[in-house]
Structures are given as structure tokens and as C-alpha cells.
Amino acid sequence: MIEFESFASSILKTKTNAYDVLWYSVPETRRHNVSSANNRYNTTLNDKIHNIILNYFDEEDINMVCSWYMNYHVDKLEKLGYNITYYDSDPYVCEDCDLISENIKNVDVIFDNVKFNGPVIHKFCEDTYPIGRLHKGKFLLAGCNKKRLHICNPIESTSQLIEQNNIKDVLYEEEYEFQRVKYSIVLGWI
């Protein structure tokens, strides 16, 4: 364990971004998940989320649920001064991401009792029960129409997101296709 901590510490000193820290520190068996979180599908979505936040978010405190390997946001958004709290139900992801953020909470935002301070970003709505049925406030929601065993809620359109989550006031919406996967994004008040 001491050897690992020393190794991790050396990485933190020499690597310049959160992706590198994650890549070189997560156990090899989970490294492919870091790759998946940073593949072209997710990077394209992250770029769009990033631009929406820059244009529509004046708040300093932001919550990102189902944050998974969130190095992109650590590197880009946090450096702009946003104070982001991350939430993920995967204890192993949280353990890995502890190296790049002090604000990660291992909770299930759908089943556990969670209170948010500030707007909420959920970019994997296809994986969960509609969060808007449980919480109120300003939400940036995104989801895709992939169909897999673990996906309980494929998102086909922005109108599905709006309806499912009872979004009353839509500030922004976008649908786009990336390599035959359709993505939908909605920003609004619930």
C-alpha cells in the first residue's frame, strides 16, 4: 500500500492532467473504463456540455451526478473556477477518482437521500430512473438511445427528457447523432 501511495504521488507530481493521473493510477483491470469514459462519443458529449455550462451557468457550485471517470470536467471546468461536486454509485470509480478530486461522493442519487446545492448535470440519463421526478431545480440532462442490458432508459429525444423529468421551463435543447447513436440534451428548470 505504501508502495502504491508513493507511486500515485509520483504520478500526481509529474502528470499534467487528470486523465494521465487516472490512466497511470487505476488498476489495470479497470483501465479500459477510463478509456471508455474518454472515447469519442463521450468527449463529443463533454464538449457540448462544457459549452452549455459556459453559456448558461453563472452559479459557482455545480453538481454532476453519475459522474463516472470525470477527468474531462476536472481539467476543463474546475480550472475555470466552478466548484463541482461529483456523485457516483460505483465505489470503485469513486476510489479511483479520489486521486483527481476531493469532491466525489459515493452515493446513488436515485435511491439514496441526497440534497443538491446548485444546479445538477446528469449526462447519462439512459442509465437511470428520471432524476427530475425526485429533485427540483436547474438541470442539464443528456442521454443517448443506445440499447444494452444495463441501460434501463434509452433516450430517444429531447421531448422524452422534458416529459419524463417534468421540465417546466426549457432554456436549451439539442439533438445530435454521433456514429449512429442519437444524443439528446436539455437544460431547464424542474
Binding site: 483491470t29 465505489p91 436515485i110 430512473y129
Partner: protein, 251 residues
Amino acid sequence: MAMTNFYCLKWGTKYGPQYVNRLFNSLKVHYDNPFSFTCLTDDSNGFDSDIIVDKIPTDFEEFPRTQIFTSEKMCYFNTYKHISGSKAWFDLDILIQNNITELIDRKKNKVTYIWNYWRNEEAHKTNYGWMTTPINSSFVAWQDDIGLDMYERLVKDKDKAFFTYPSYDKYLFYQEHRKGNIAFWEPGIVYNYNIGVSYPDDLEPTSHRPNYKICLFNTSHKAWAKPNETHIELDEAEGWAYDKWISYDRV
């Protein structure tokens, strides 16, 4: 000492009454104390007359019944909460091989489920987000009203649970196991006919493990099975397994 109560569920036509009768008879052979045996079913034709028949619970009937989200299993904790003593349920596609008295009668603070020791222990860590589970609910034991709190949580969270999880075992893993609410049988008790005993060293499907208490015949792993794994139901098995199973007709 309160009488022990055993339960099983027979729904639809996949398994015939011989599955229920042989399970009942195998318990006569492999459990030493007095017990009752109740089958929750929509069709009791062909059952042994000593089997108690009860109706399938309708607590969660507003949600579509699927083959795998067996919410009825959670209902055992509520329906029979007033009955004290040791209790256990068994899936029909299991084969009891040895005496299970100690397993049933030992004191339990938590409901006890099967941990799939034949699966890679790392898999559920590596693939946590991909709806994988190392839990199996084919042989589950508890006592008194332990487990009622799990039933009540499912009632409270039913909209979210049925929306999110394709199976009861996955719900258990992601919602109850992560909070430390359930216990597991230790290694050496249950094995899987179609996969083996323990990962990675003892994975030989269909081999007889005479010292184990219970053999499972799950075939739900079909979609992602490894090439050497088989998908044989109990009534399709040949040799030792089938011989053992039909031997319970003569009890």
C-alpha cells in the same frame, strides 16, 4: 422450537409438478427436523397432497411480471412475517445433495443468499456500472421477521426499482448488498452444474461434487456464457444428476 417452514414458487409451465414434488421429497431426506412445505403457484395439479398450496402474491402486480424480476421472492418476508422460526426458499431448478439441517437451523442476523464463487471476483468490480451481479437467490434462508425491512424498502422504492433493474438479484446487489444488509453462504456449500465450483481453478461443468450440499441448474447466464459452460436444465441432465433427482420419487 418452532417448526421450520420451506417455500418455493411455481409460476407458468416451464417446470412441471415433478420439480415441486422432488424438491419436497429431497427435503424429507436432507432436513432432520419437522417442517412444512408451501408452494406458491397458479397451478397445483399433480402436487403431493402434503404440500401446502398458497397463491402467488400480487403485491407488485402493477409492474409487468418478467421471468427474472421475481419480486414474489421479496414477498415471502412480508406474507410469512408472523411465522417464527427458521425459513428458507428454494428455486425449483436446484438439486439438494446432502443434509442441510445445520444451514437452515443456524442463527441468522441477515437473510442469507448465494454468492457466485464460480464467477471472477473482479468482474463485478471492473464492471460495476454494467449491471453485473455475483448474487444468486436460488437458495435463501432467514428466520422470524428478518428481511421484512428489505420488503418495505422495495415497496417504498418500487417505481424506481422496477424501472431500473431487470432482475431481483441485480436489485439486491446494487441496493441491499452495498449497504451490507444481506449475508452469504460460505464457500463449499453451493455449486453450479453448468459452470463449476470456484473461479478460476475449479470450473468443470456437469461434474459431480459429492461433498456439496446444493447444486444449481441456472441457465440464465446463456447470453454471456463462456464456451466451456453448459446450459442444461435439471430435467435435461444425464447420469448422476438425473439419477439423483428422480431418486427422490421413491422417498
